[in-house]
Symmetry: C3
Subunit: 331 residues, 3 copies
């Protein structure tokens, strides 16, 4: 039997089966950090994201947020992330104001973030912010009269990426509890990994951290997630953990964190996933990467059905659609 939730506009004449009515707990809220999500909240997000997936597959676009305007304010450019949010709001029937590469200086030149945010809040219904400084999203939220979604602030948080990562695991494997998840590569600077580790504390999983000595998970993050009950072990070699790994999450080693090319090359090349790696992995392993990659996974692996990183991109669209609809009070 089909049922349509009150808040849902008819989807171009078709109807989709929707989950139980929800409590609108995210209406008008900011999305700033993974830490604001309880396990129950995560269920909420993911069930809305599943609905979005169904609806997009059925009709592509629908009018749930017809007339809503999203300001996409990116102080540091990110084609990938801004495109994802613009597509998300357009598929929900709304529209975007794209603002890229804002001229920026923390010193007196140019406008302050609070003033820019208050200005955009006068025009838009929702602001997606990417900013090079840690804590910028929280600052913006203090001044904005409209919901802020943090699309990455410096070394701080990138909660929508972590949520889509977790959604990918859940969707690819059917569940999260009970899995052995290996995080590989740059665990020091990759904020994605820190956020994902924090989200995993809300689940019953084993986590293997595999990195070169110089790029281990920061001690404070390790303490934090262990104190919240996450079972974490650290390793220098992928080989010893590969046979047990259910989910292998590979990260990009970012050049800008290295002093010289040789140091970069040494680390960058040390954990490349190839067809040979995949032969030694579990038949049902899920291989993930937040993208962009710069060689950490060989292109020969792309056709392996276990390579989930392009599906991960697709799931990101659904998760971002869900978050936008939720803070706008329509899911």
């Amino acid at each position: 039997m089909e049922r349509v939730q009150a808040g849902h506009a008819p989807m171009l004449g078709k109807r989709v089966e929707l989950g139980p009515p929800r409590d609108g707990r995210f209406k008008g809220k900011h999305i700033l950090s993974v830490n604001q999500f309880s396990r129950e909240d995560l269920e909420y997000v993911f069930s809305v994201a599943e609905e979005m997936r169904t609806a997009v597959e059925l009709v592509g676009t629908f009018d749930l947020l017809k007339g809503k305007v999203l300001a996409c304010l990116f102080y540091s450019p990110s084609t990938r992330t801004s495109s994802s949010f613009i597509a998300a709001v357009e598929r929900l029937g709304g529209s975007a104001i794209p603002i890229n590469e804002v001229k920026y200086s923390s010193v007196s030149k140019g406008e302050s973030l609070p003033d820019t945010v208050r200005t955009l809040a006068a025009y838009a219904d929702l602001i997606v912010l990417r900013h090079p400084e840690t804590g910028a999203a929280a600052t913006a939220a203090r001044y904005s009269g409209k919901p802020i979604i943090n699309a990455g602030d410096g070394q701080g948080e990138h909660p929508t990426q972590a949520l889509l990562d977790l959604f990918t695991i859940r969707h690819e494997r059917g569940h999260v509890d009970g899995l052995t998840i290996t995080l590989l590569g740059d665990l020091k600077y990759g904020r994605t990994v820190h956020s994902l580790a924090r989200l995993l504390t809300k689940h019953d999983v084993k986590v293997r951290m595999v990195s070169p000595e110089t790029l281990r998970l920061p001690r404070d993050v390790l303490e934090e997630v262990r104190s919240r009950g996450l079972m974490v072990t650290e390793h220098a070699s992928l080989e010893e953990v590969l046979p047990d790994t259910d989910v292998l999450y590979v990260t990009r080693v970012q050049k800008e964190y290295f002093d010289d090319q040789a140091a970069y090359d040494a680390v960058q090349g040390s954990y490349v996933i190839t067809a040979d790696t995949m032969r030694r992995a579990r038949k049902d392993m899920v291989l993930m990467h937040p993208l962009p990659r710069v060689g950490e996974i060989a292109m020969e692996v792309d056709d392996d059905p276990r390579a989930a990183y392009f599906r991960q991109v697709q799931y990101g669209l659904y998760v971002r659609m869900a978050l936008i609809a939720m803070v706008m009070g329509r899911a």
Copy 2:
């Protein structure tokens, strides 16, 4: 009793009370200069802007200009102004083609403004133009088969800013006639102030010009507005005029007009509005600023109910929606 003007599309199922039917006098016209607006025209603009305010507050977005395409052609970038126009057309149900930071040279490299404008007129229904050269908007209008809205051309005009400034005064105080309006700061280079002074000649107001000696209103502009009957006095100190001031309009002192940092700092710091200033101001004074500010108004003032500059941003959206709807013949 509710009535809907012929040209108005139903607003997402709701109806708003609208003013008397109008004569469509701006249909197909260019908006190039404040000088093209008679007092009666201003009433027209502002009554449409009030309707836009009501409609946005009721429904956010509506389909008055469904299917209309606005080209937002900015030769010099301005996130603030372009975002405002894009939001305006999107809230009217239309869409935008954003064109930022056009590679530009007045010499032979690149395409001439007339050719670019004729090209965009083939794609869009309306062109919003910002350009670094005075007179560029008038040039564009000569070649465009579609209406041009001047969003600032060099040291020339910025009519939509002046109109939103006047709308702010009117909306905040309920009227304009009879007020004492103080313009503070850089009165020499700030085109906003020149345009606003010209608009004020159509009203019965007293204007106080407060600036350092080096940044006084240009003599020709002073002559012009006085010859049109505007009562203007000039002052070096805010103190002597503050007690009588109904509207205090603060401007940004733009660094690019100064030879060295010391000269800039001296002037820039000379008229900073603080909580202390506000204590000595009238209880019903309206404090305005075209934004962005770079320190002319201390952040501590932001929470003062007399601080109208963020509401001014909001009014700007309504005024720009009104102008777009008017030139498209829908208001």
Copy 3:
């Protein structure tokens, strides 16, 4: 009698007369090269483009592609071309994700084109690509799960420009067969001319190639089009072919292909079309230019009714709307 094709949404309440139902032969196809179009395909494209012209003139915008999302991925900026595609999808009722000036390097920095394309294919229904490398569009097509439209790849193809050029000739003259068409200027580097010459092989026309010695059509292109039956003669002077010319297609001489300013000036100035040139041309000649021009046609010619280059821009909108609708399976 009015008839509406199945795939066509009602156009804002109005109806337009449409051609015979079509076979959807371009549904899901990539548009990569002019060589993929048979003479019959060209008829198909142009009859859809004529419908688009009628519909735009009647209603401006319509909902044929409501909800479709086009990613406009430009590795090298082109305001003109990207604006044209964005306007095209918006007039079809869809929306765009504009992505301009992607940071790009063929070396290891940054993401590979296949990865970027696979990412955007997860968000959008269609990708329009401009790229500085020859063959990039074909590479993108191999990896994209969604149709790719080539909007110019290096010295390779720019099929939508060639199609709109041919549509212009057809529309301005009523037919193509039997005409004498003169191509003037830089025939060496101008990819537009190469593509147009290839399309002309499918028609019964005489082609005159007029260029300085240094900018003659590449020998391999000349061989290719002659071997396909195109009647081509080469000339150094416009004078000898002007009297017989039905269509004069002028190209821009691009500065970047010259070693020094003097060499550029000599060539650039050698074939300027003036009012005097037009006096010696046929009364029904069609004067075309792909734009932007940098002096090859004097502005004094713009008001001559034979000057078709701004109408050519307008036809470009219709042809791009047609191609988008065709690959989306709606025409």
